[in-house]
Structure formats: C-alpha cells, structure tokens
C-alpha cells in the first residue's frame, strides 16, 4: 500500500472518543464501521476482508513501524525494504530470503516481482527475480523471425551474457538479469496456457497483478515469493473518496485471488502480507491526513492465526510523537514471524537481529 496507508481509518478505533475529535473531516462514521469487536472495526470498503477476518484468516498487527520515523515516503520505504533504519541498505530483506531458499540458484523464478518495477526488497547481488508485467508477452527478442534466426540469435545472446570476470557489479547485474530473463521466460511461458478459472477478477490494476500471481502459482513452477504494490495511499487531500476507492480495489482483488486459489484447491500454502511505509497523522488536516509514523499490517491466508496482535497505540495527545502514533512493534519483528514461522528460515540473518515475534502463523 504505497503512499502511507491511514491506520486510523483502516482499522478504526470506533470506541475511542478521541477518534471523533481528531477526525472531524475524514472520520469514518460510527454506523459505517465494519465492527470486529467493541473497540475496532474495518473501513467500510473492506467488507471482503472483514468476512475473511470472521473466518479466522486475517491477522491484524497493530502499531507497526520503527523509531524516529523520517516521515519521508522514500526513506521509509527504503528502510522497510532493506531493514536498515540507520544506514543505506543495499540488499533487500526478501533477497536474503530468496538466497536462503535457493542458495544454488536452481530456480530463477523463486521470486516474481509484478512489474514494471523491481521492488528493492527483492534486490540483492546475484539474486534472480523475474519481473513480470504482462505474463502473456514475457519473452526475449520475440519479434525475431523466422524461428531459426531467433534460436541462432538467442544462443549467441546467452554466450555473450555469460559472466565476464572483472567487469564490475553493474555489468554482472546486467549479465545475470539477461540470462535469468531468458530462462525465466522459458519457464513462465507455460503458465497462462494451462490456466483456467471460474473466477472473474475485478477490473483494477491490483486485481490484474493478483491474477498474474495466481496463474504462476497454479502452474506449480516453484515460485515462493510474489511481490506487488498498489499506490495512491498518500491521502493528504480528498481522503474520504480516495481511501475508500483504494480499499475497495484492494479488498475485492484479495477476495478474488483467494477465491481463485480455493477453487483450485491451492490456497493452503499462501500467506499474503500487507504493509505501508508509515501510518498517517492522527489529526486530520481538513480534507486528508499528513505523513505519520505507526501503522498497521495485515496477514491473510489459511495459514494465518486470525485475530489481533499488539496494542492499538494510545491516541492521548501526551502519548503522540509530533502528532503521530508511536509504533510499539518493530516491523522487523513482523518480518521475523513470516521468515521463521511461515518460511521456516532463520530470521536473525534476514532482518538483522533478534526481535520478539507476534505469533500470527498457525503452528
């Protein structure tokens, strides 16, 4: 959820009298809140997620962030991607996970980034990632005809992209990317052809990406990590309309995705994790909310132990930091749960330390 998702309006503390005071302009009306219990409820656009919560498949992790939030989108996102709050991280946390899963690079599509961007969380030296925007047109030099010429050129291409010693990290990266692209395209070309589904996905960019993920997952190609984003959560203004639209898109896409997997009996081994670079300012600004600190994460799937983890941060004025919620849970502890309890890997080397884990994965 790129842009800084507003925690207070995603998981609304409806029983907190201060909420009404803080949110005169963009507050979710009490009667519209999708109640989860007598304290909190979801934004009204999140009905599909509310249903999954009631089924016990959604974990809400409260008050996630890190100390001294810079309140900058970009620096914050970098920190989330690299687990390096103090220095410039050059390696993504998921890149380390990919290396642990597949140390000998036996599968170049262990991780798939739903493009066009390659997310920094996945970037690391020597780590292959397939960056797929449209799986149907994923292929190298596909315009070359006849077939004979294509295979002649591609085999030369392969030779010329093979590692050249001593040419530097940028050339190495390019060389590896080219080779991984060739190999990944070969593997992925099977996925759309073998896919059929009774689920009609909603018409949004996030639904399209999730459909692509479902296609690859269902093809059983050994992909373990899929990454996508949905942007526009930077709701400084017109928040009421924008935030509702975004959650409508995200919620329905998630519902369609899991329905699709379930209809193929393939939902059990998928956990979806949702985060944003920061939450937003507690007090609204008349039409929206400015950059804040503590935020909320969601984990969704059959492998998730549904419920709420951690405490909702105090909204008392004296407990705010420059007007923002103080996060009580370090984001690296949430990552640790995913890495250890879901992926079965050692989290310390991935997130760079020991963090107490919220236990939101079923044992």
């Amino acid at each position: 959820m790129t842009g800084g998702n507003d925690y207070l309006n995603t998981v609304v503390p409806h029983s907190d009298p201060l909420y009404r005071d803080y949110r005169p302009s963009v507050g979710v009306l009490d009667e519209d809140v999708l109640r989860l219990d007598d304290q909190v409820g979801f934004h009204p656009a999140m009905a599909p997620i509310q249903k999954m919560y009631q089924d016990g498949d959604v974990a809400i992790i409260h008050g996630v962030g890190y100390e001294n939030s810079p309140r900058s989108h970009f620096r914050s996102m970098d920190i989330w991607h690299t687990c390096e709050p103090d220095t410039l991280g050059t390696e993504g946390w998921l890149a380390r996970v990919i290396r642990d899963i597949d140390p000998h690079k036996e599968n170049v599509i262990t991780a798939v980034s739903m493009g066009p961007a390659l997310f920094r969380a996945l970037v690391g030296p020597g780590i292959p990632v397939a960056t797929v925007e449209n799986i149907d047109s994923y292929g190298m030099l596909t315009g070359l005809t006849p077939e004979e010429k294509l295979s002649r050129v591609l085999s030369r291409y392969r030779r010329m992209y093979s590692p050249a010693i001593g040419t530097g990290p940028v050339m190495d990266y390019l060389g590896q990317t080219g080779l991984d692209a060739l190999e990944g395209a070969d593997i992925l070309s099977a996925a759309p052809a073998n896919y059929s589904s009774s689920i009609e996905y909603a018409d949004s960019s996030v639904a399209k990406k999730l459909k692509g993920i479902a296609q690859i997952h269902l093809a059983g190609l050994g992909s373990r990590i899929f990454y996508l984003d949905h942007s526009g959560f930077d709701t400084h203004a017109d928040q009421v309309v924008t935030h509702a639209r975004l959650w409508e898109e995200v919620s329905t896409a998630i519902r369609d995705f899991f329905d699709d997997l379930e209809s193929h009996d393939a939902a059990d081994n998928v956990v979806m994790f949702l985060f944003s670079e920061f939450g937003r300012r507690v007090h609204d600004n008349g039409g929206g909310t400015d950059h804040g600190a503590g935020g909320v994460c969601l984990a969704i799937g059959k492998g998730v132990k549904g419920g709420q983890y951690g405490e909702y941060p105090s909204t008392r004025p004296s407990d705010l930091d420059q007007g923002d919620l103080i996060p009580a849970t370090d984001f690296r502890s949430v990552y640790s749960t995913l890495v250890e309890d879901w992926m079965g890997l050692d989290a310390v080397s991935v997130v760079g330390g020991n963090f107490e884990k919220p236990e939101f994965i079923l044992k």
Partner: protein, 468 residues
Amino acid sequence: MTITETNLNLMAHLMRRAGFGADRDELEHRVANGYEATVDELLHPEQQIPVDYYEFLRYFPNWWKPGTMGGRGHAGWVWRMINTRAPLQEKLCLFYHQIFATGVSKVDHYDEIEDMIDMFRENGLGHYKTILMEVAKNPAMIYWLDNHENHATSINENWGRELLELFTMGIGNYTETDVQECSRAFTGWTLTHKLPRFHMGRWDWEFEYRPDDHDNGEKTFLGQTGNFNGEEIIDIILAQPATATFIARHLFSFFVEDEPQVPSWSVTPPNNPEAVDAIANVLFESDYHIGTTLKFILNADFFKESLFAKVKNPTEVVIGTLRLVGNTERPSPETMDWAIDITNMGQDLLNPPSVEGWHTGIEWINSGTLMKRTNFTAELMGDLTRPGVKNIMGRLKSVEASPDAIVTACLNLMGPLDVEDDIKKELIEHAETFGPFDWDNDSDNENAAAVASEIIQLIVALREYQFA
C-alpha cells in the same frame, strides 16, 4: 576540427547526454564544427527552428488538451523529442520532470502537466529560482501536492515537505518545524476552476493567491524569523549551500554519472564529491543559473571522462533509437505505440510512480524491462527499410566484406561502442556462421545486409548497449 576517433567518441558522448544521440552524418558535421561550439549551440535552443506542434495536432487534434487520454497523453511530448533540433532543451524538460515529478494518476488531466513541461521548455536554461516559483504556482503541482488544501487555519504539509526534501535541500538539512513553517508561508497559494467539471469539459486551472487564506503570522524558518510569504521562503532556501549541493548532485546524476537513488543521499556521499562541489559552486555563484552551470558541466573534464557511465533511461532508449532509424518524424499511430513503449520500459511520462520520480540508473533494469528494451531496439534496427538503417548499410558497403571488418564497423556505427575482446570474438564468430558474403551485386547485397543486420541486432541486445 578534424575527425579523429577521440573527437568522434567525445561528440557521440555529448550528444547522448545533452540530447538523444545522433547518427554518423550529424556527428561528423558536429565534430567539424567543434566541441565547444556544439555545446554553445545546444545551450541556445532559441536559435533553432522550433518543432511545429500544429503538425502533430493536425494528425491528432484530440491531443490539444488531451484530458484523460488513457495512458497516451504524453505522445505529443514524445513527438517533440523525436523531432526537435534543440535536443538539450527537451532533455532538460526530462530532467526537471524527474525532479518535479507530477503525475496524471492524481492530477487526472494531462493538459495541466503538459503546461508544466512547456514551462520547463521555456525556462529550463534560466535561473532555478524561476523554475521553483513557477512550479510553486503551477496548478498541477498545487493539486498534486495538495497545496489547495493548505489553509491559514489548518496547514497541509505535502508541498512544504517535498519542496524541502525533494526539490531543493534533501533530508537532514531542516527540521519538522521548518516543514510546518514553510507550509504556513505557502498558505493561500491555490488554484481556481478546480471543480466541478462542466458538461462541455473542464475549465483550465489557474494559479490564484488568496490573501484571506494566507497565514500572515510570524514564522521561523531555517533560523530566520519574519512574516514570510512563499517567495521569501524560496529565497532563504536558495541561500543555503545545501541547496546548491543538492541541485548539483541532481545535475551530476542526470548528465554525468549515475548516483545512488535520491532517498539515500542523506546517508551516502556522492560518487565524485569534487565534481558535485564544483557544480554547486558554479550554481551558487551564478544565482543558480542552469545554462551557465550546464556550460561548465559539459566542458568539464569529469564530464568528458564519463563515457558510458550511465544506464540509458527508457526515454533515451526509445527516442534515441527512433532518431537513429528515421522515418519516424511524421505523426502516426506508431507515434502512439512508441509513447507506450517508453511506459512499458518503466517510465510512464507525465505519470511518475510518485513525487520522488523514477528510480534511475541500474534500477531501470530488471528482467522484464531488459526484455522490452532489447525487443524494441532490435526490431527497429532490423528494419532495413528505415532510412537510418539504410544509411548504416550504405556506410558498411565501403568496408571490406569480412566478418572481422563488418563487426568492427557495426560496433563503430552503433556508438562508437567499445566492447571486451571476448564479446567481439563472439560477434565475429556469429558473422562467420553465414559463410562468405560480399557487397558485389544486388543479391550479394541482400545477403551481406542480412548478416550486418543480425550483427546489429545482437549489438543492441548487448549489455554494453544499455549505457549512455
């Protein structure tokens, strides 16, 4: 000036960076004119015959105020870049668009962002203060960063923060209080005719200053206290050496050598601190005059030594290829496709992913975008009917019809491009697989052209070709 290998390499470098590359005829002509004279020419776009934008509009009248034209509102700008005789002028528009990244995803109407690009085109070589003032009053920017919601009674920090973080100083040079005080000074800087939309279309947006919605109280900003308005804030910002360094680093990263991504600048020193300092000095001494600063950069040794130190951005890939192959000048449905090709390679012009702009340098490349670059370039360079490709074939005919000589000549004409010996060996081996070929008669010509064409397609697929 005589045409030597060094001169040619340097001129090709200059044209890649200060433009979108140039074919061999143009390079030879420019070398004859001289390097410094070419820099001066590039710095004076007003001396060139401007692109006749009405020609584009005659073919695509809907692109006069393209509104919400799905995903193709930037086609008019793309057409300008293909056709301009003042390439540095368009390159600078791209530079500023990367810094003042404003997107149709929120602004909704392309027209308003096009107006900002037009403003960059007009003022790009002038003072940075002019750009900042114009951007601060630009309705697309005001809407993009919510300054229309920044009121005397209740500030909205979005513009105030990004002005400091992304447009002038960078993180670490101001406090949260400075962000708020800066925002207060820009209260009342708003736009009119915003909504509602009228049934016959939408009124253009205009900047409006509303004194009644401006916070006239005293502000303390970067250690100075006074009843500041927006322009005074910009003056205070520009008086900070940190601002000159920050803009210098942007110029260095765009024109000289890829720097790490902007968000990391607060914690990572520049690759070449001396060069950035030297640029910052020129900026500061010239009141941030961009033309003066660019003249310094393009004539500096650090620039002349930075051959192929940048990864081409998608616009450079597409426009560079189109200008090279030719027969791309007339507005056509292909123009629209090419606009989308840039998007597919990861640079949706007039619609950057966020106010931070695009992640550049090596981050342009991933398995998906590398495919798209390669596929696009190889297809056009393989089209033997394109005048630019014919031109290359014509020059190759004067070269001995041997694999070695053809490969050497192709590498030269596609850059000149310098590759490792083992890569060259592969290309020669590839040419050898075709058996003997020559340029003696028409049917031989066709055969030899097929060999050369395939070699060129392999060259544009090379790693080395991704650099500018």
